[in-house]
Each structure stands twice: as C-alpha cells, then as structure tokens.
C-alpha cells in the first residue's frame, strides 16, 4: 500500500502512457504512420482543463467531451490527409502536433499562453483511469482476433488486395484516425485532470519520440505491446536513477539493444519464440517412402546407367 502511494504518479503515468502509445499504435496497425494522436493528446489536455477550470464540469464529462472533440478532429484530419502515405504522412502529422503546440502558446486567455493552465481540480481518481484503460483494452482485444484482425492485417499489408476482397480501406483508415484521436485525447485529458495543470511545453517532439519508442519496443500489433512499452518507458527512468549521472546513456543503450534484438517488439519476440517451438514440432510434409517410390520409377528410366543417382 505504501508502495502504491509512493509510486502513484508512476502508476498513473503508466496508464496514461498506455493510452498515448495506443493512439500511435492503432493507426500503425492499419498501416498508417501517424502521430496525430499526440496532437489529440494536446487537444484533450486543453479541452479538459478549460472545461474543468471555466465551467466546473465533472471529470468524466470533461474527458468525454475532450474525447469526442478530438475524435471529430481526428476524423476531419483523416479526410485532409487522405492522399498521403508513409513518412510523408508521418511528417504531416508531426506538423499537426507542432502546430497545435504553437496554437497553445498563442492561445491567449483561452490556453493561458506559455504559462498553460493550472488549477484544474477534479474528482478523477486512479481507479477511474484504470477502469477506462481496462475497457479500452477489452475493446481492442476484439480487434485482435477473428475477422476484424484479418481485415486489419489486410488493410495494412495490401490495401489494393483488401479492396478487391470487399474490405473498405478508406473507412478503416478514417476509423483508425478517429479512434487514435479519441485515445490520445483521453490520455491528455486524464493526465491534465490528475496533474491539474497543462502547459504547452509538454507537447513537443519528445512526446512523439516517447510514444513511438513505446510502441516499437513493446510491440506494434497488439495492445499488450503498447502496455508493455508504457510500463518499460514509464519506469525505466526511475529505475535507472540508481546509475546516477550516466542514466541517460544506459537508457539509450537499452533502447538500442531492444531495437536490435527485438525486431518485432517484446510481444513479437515472445510470439516468435512460440512460433519456433511450434515449428520444431511440425514435421515437414515429407515421407521418405514417397521419394523411394519416385526413385524407383526413375530407375527404370536409366536402364543402362544410374549415373548421378544417389
């Protein structure tokens, strides 16, 4: 219990980061390299802060409103960037994030300018945050099995093939942007309400980098990966403080090693292992008898010589 209280900030941050990581991971799963979720994080953070400070809206109503707003923005954004793909799209979304942060700095009264907003006191509890995450994870589980998973795989790996098989690629992508916006905003809003403040400094390139690192190292195909990534990168800095001034170096080395040795993320690494074990037990569809038979057939062919036949 003491441990829980002492590390409450990190525990909460783990779940917030989990949602943030998901907002990057969801588009990635359908093959869209988008960081717009980080921008939604900002939208959600500010929306929740403004609603709480100015209008005294209850926590879950503020979060809900922020989520809806960001989901709509996410959807509209997907319409705007419909023609973009790959790293070009990634750049456009980075631009989106940075523009949002500039807007926050220049938002005057509304956003509190460079100071940001503070005093967003609410009744959001850690339990509430965890409950939201559990619901999100449960919903995502449904997308990771059966037909929906296959559709998502198809849209990511081969959009054209998906089309010819009756899978709407464009709606799927729009949905991904919308969900990503909602999740990002949820993370941002809850973080603001837990910390009671938001400042434009939070919305920077490092947040993008953090979100990406969590997803890639945890695993980009399943919410479990995002969760593992969130756990690692929320707690790693604290754990590393034992190495003192060189913690930054150790942190970097850990990231590098993970990138090299876990090409499909931690979750992928576990799956690969499982696959390998399964592969060991699978026998080649070969029966030596068959070969023998075939060889006998050919013996007759080489009536005068069996040269070359082993």
């Amino acid at each position: 219990m003491i441990w829980y209280e002492a590390n409450l900030v990190l525990i909460e941050a783990t779940f917030i980061n989990f949602l943030l990581a998901l907002s990057i991971q969801i588009p990635l799963r359908v093959g869209v390299f988008s960081f717009a979720g980080v921008g939604s994080y900002g939208i959600g953070a500010y929306a929740a802060a403004i609603l709480t400070i100015r209008y005294d809206v209850p926590a879950f109503a503020a979060i809900g409103a922020a989520v809806v707003l960001a989901a709509v923005v996410g959807y509209l954004f997907s319409l705007v960037v419909a023609r973009l793909s790959g790293l070009y799209l990634a750049m456009a979304t980075v631009a989106f994030v940075l523009i949002i942060s500039v807007l926050a700095v220049n938002g005057g009264e509304l956003t509190g300018g460079a100071h940001g907003l503070y005093g967003a006191l609410s009744d959001l509890t850690t339990g509430g945050v965890i409950a939201v995450c559990v619901v999100v994870a449960a919903l995502l589980t449904l997308t990771e099995r059966g037909p929906l998973r296959r559709r998502i795989e198809a849209v990511r790996e081969d959009p054209e093939l998906s089309l010819s098989m009756g899978i709407g690629v464009v709606p799927m992508r729009q949905l991904a942007f919308t969900v990503s916006g909602a999740l990002g905003a949820c993370a941002g809003a809850m973080n603001t309400l837990l910390r009671t403040t938001v400042s434009p400094e939070e919305l920077n390139f490092h947040l993008i980098v953090l979100a990406l690192t969590m997803v890639v190292i945890g695993g980009s195909r399943s919410w479990v990966g995002a969760f593992i990534g969130a756990v690692i990168f929320t707690w790693l800095p604290s754990l590393l403080s034992v190495v003192g001034e060189w913690q930054g170096v150790v942190y970097g080395v850990v990231v590098v090693l993970a990138a090299i040795f876990m090409p499909t993320g931690l979750v992928g690494a576990v799956k690969d292992l499982h696959r390998r074990i399964r592969g060991r037990n699978r026998t080649v569809p070969t029966a030596s008898d068959d070969v023998k038979e075939e060889r006998e057939v050919f013996e007759t062919l080489s009536d005068d010589s069996t040269e070359g036949v082993r």
Partner: protein, 295 residues
C-alpha cells in the same frame, strides 16, 4: 537584400545538416535519428580540442568531419547493420532503425549533457576571427561565405556523384531491395558503411560551421535541427538532392520572413503549416519520385 542573404545562410546550414541525412535515407533507406547528435558530438570534440590548442578553421572542419564520420560508421556497424541483418525486409526494418537511432541519440546527448552540463560551448579559442564585409549595401561575414560555399560545393558533389556514378545507382538499388542488389554484385555492407561515413562527415562539418556561425551551440542544438531537417527533406521529396536544397531553402525563407515580419512565436506554425499545405498538393514532396505501384 540582407534578409535574403540571412535566409540563404540559414538555408545553407539546414542544407549542410540535412544533406547527409537525406542521402542515407534516400539511398540505403536509413533514416538516422542520431544525425543531430552526431553533429553535436563532432562540434563538442572539436571544442575540447580547441581548448587545448588554438586551431585554425580548416583544421577544425577536418576534425569535425572525422569525428562525425567515426560516430556515424560506428552507429552503422553496431546498430543499423545488425538491425538490417536480422530484418532483411527494409520496410519492416525502417521502424527499428528509427528507434535504434533514437537510442543512439540519447546516448550521445546524455554524454554531452554530462560533460558540458548543457552550458553552451563555442570556438572562441580558435584562431579564426569573424569579420564582416560590406558588399554594396549588404553585410556579409566570412563565416557566412564559408557556409554558402561549403553548402553549394558539397550539395553539388553529392548530386553529381549520385547521378553519374554507378555507386549512386547501386545505393538506390539497395534502398529498393537489398537482396536483389547483392545478386547484382553490390556489396551492401561496404556501400552502407561508406554512405554512413559520408553522411557522418557532412554532419560533422555542419556542426563545426554552425558553431562558428552562431558563436556557440549547446548539447540540445542537434535535436532541434533534426526536426527541421526531417521536414525539409520531406518537403523536397526523399532521395533527391534538388529536393533537399529546395526544401531547406523554403524552410529557411519561411522562418526568416516570419521572424522578421510577423513574430518568432509563429515561425514553427508557419513553417510546418507550409509543409502541411505543400504535402496536401504534392503528396510526395516537391521533387519526390512517384510511388511505383500497379496491379
């Protein structure tokens, strides 16, 4: 007019920085997020050297280039190459490479922050002194001149090499399909190492010149340049030297104009808004090759 020169100088700095990154990315498909730290570490090593012995600018440039090359080659050999070996599919490896680069960048940044405590450092101990000249009504300094010339020459050389030399073609082939490139007799490992060496040297040179020009840089300087460079490369279109040149210049002009006529606060918004707009109309940047895809 002076604004023009200032903008072109800023553009040239971005260019020097982005050039190496663009070449590595556009050819062998390595998007190196440690490019900024490589740049910064080169300047930092040169700084520690120049504190010991007062060195002239050309020597400093050589040192910076050498350090950048070394760092970059080590990054390739120890991080990117193992990633690619384990993941022959370039597209799949792309993300790992980005994250690996982020890791390397944090290592280098942490080292530099530790050593300098993030206090800015400069080359005031170098024998080089900055002089400003008046060319008609325009003022231009000797560092600006060096930067302009260096950027033009290096960009020209890179473009020529990529276009005419067979090695340039081989590099692009590696970027498309490393396995088939090796079937053509291309030594992928060596080519990649060579490219990264060149990219690193460019980063190092940019680090030295920028430090002279700004007077000082700090450990975090490389990171802020990284986003700008990334943006400029995308804006111009990946894999084209003309693209990087255009991209960096547009970015520099936009920023300069905003800073001088509007307000620095909006510089980022305008620059990135511009990139956003351009991408909406040209989804693969200004000089980007169209994606070859057919049914």
């Amino acid at each position: 007019m002076e604004t023009l020169i200032n903008a072109v100088t800023l553009g040239s700095i971005y260019l020097l920085f982005a050039l190496g990154m663009s070449v590595a990315w556009g050819t062998i498909g390595i998007l190196n997020f440690a490019h900024g730290s490589t740049f910064m570490i080169s300047a930092m090593v040169a700084y520690y050297l120049v504190q010991q012995v007062s060195l002239p600018m050309p020597v400093m440039i050589l040192i910076g280039g050498a350090v950048g090359m070394l760092v970059s080659v080590l990054t390739q050999a120890l991080v990117f190459n193992p990633i690619q070996r384990r993941n022959p599919d370039l597209l799949k490896a792309e993300m790992q490479i980005v994250v690996g680069g982020i890791g390397v960048a944090s290592v280098l940044l942490a080292i530099a922050q530790n050593l300098t405590k993030s206090v800015p450092f400069g080359f005031s101990a170098s024998t080089f002194t900055i002089r400003a000249y008046w060319v008609g009504p325009v003022q231009i300094s000797n560092v600006q001149l060096v930067i302009l010339v260096a950027a033009a020459v290096l960009a020209g050389l890179t473009a020529w090499w990529l276009r005419s030399a067979r090695a340039g073609l081989a590099l692009r082939a590696i970027g498309v399909n490393p396995e088939v490139a090796s079937l053509m007799g291309v030594d992928r490992g060596r080519m990649a190492l060579g490219t990264m060496a060149a990219a690193g040297a460019l980063a190092g040179i940019a680090g030295i010149l920028l430090t002279y020009y700004l007077g000082s840089i700090a450990a975090e300087t490389g990171d802020s340049l990284l986003i700008s460079a990334f943006a400029a490369i995308i804006l111009g279109g990946v894999g084209s030297v003309a693209g990087v040149v255009t991209g960096t210049m547009i970015l520099a002009f936009a920023e300069t104009l905003v800073v001088t006529h509007l307000s620095g606060t909006w510089a980022n918004a305008v620059a990135f808004g511009l990139i956003f707009l351009v991408l909406l109309f040209l989804p693969r940047g200004i000089f980007g090759r169209k994606e070859v895809r057919r049914t």
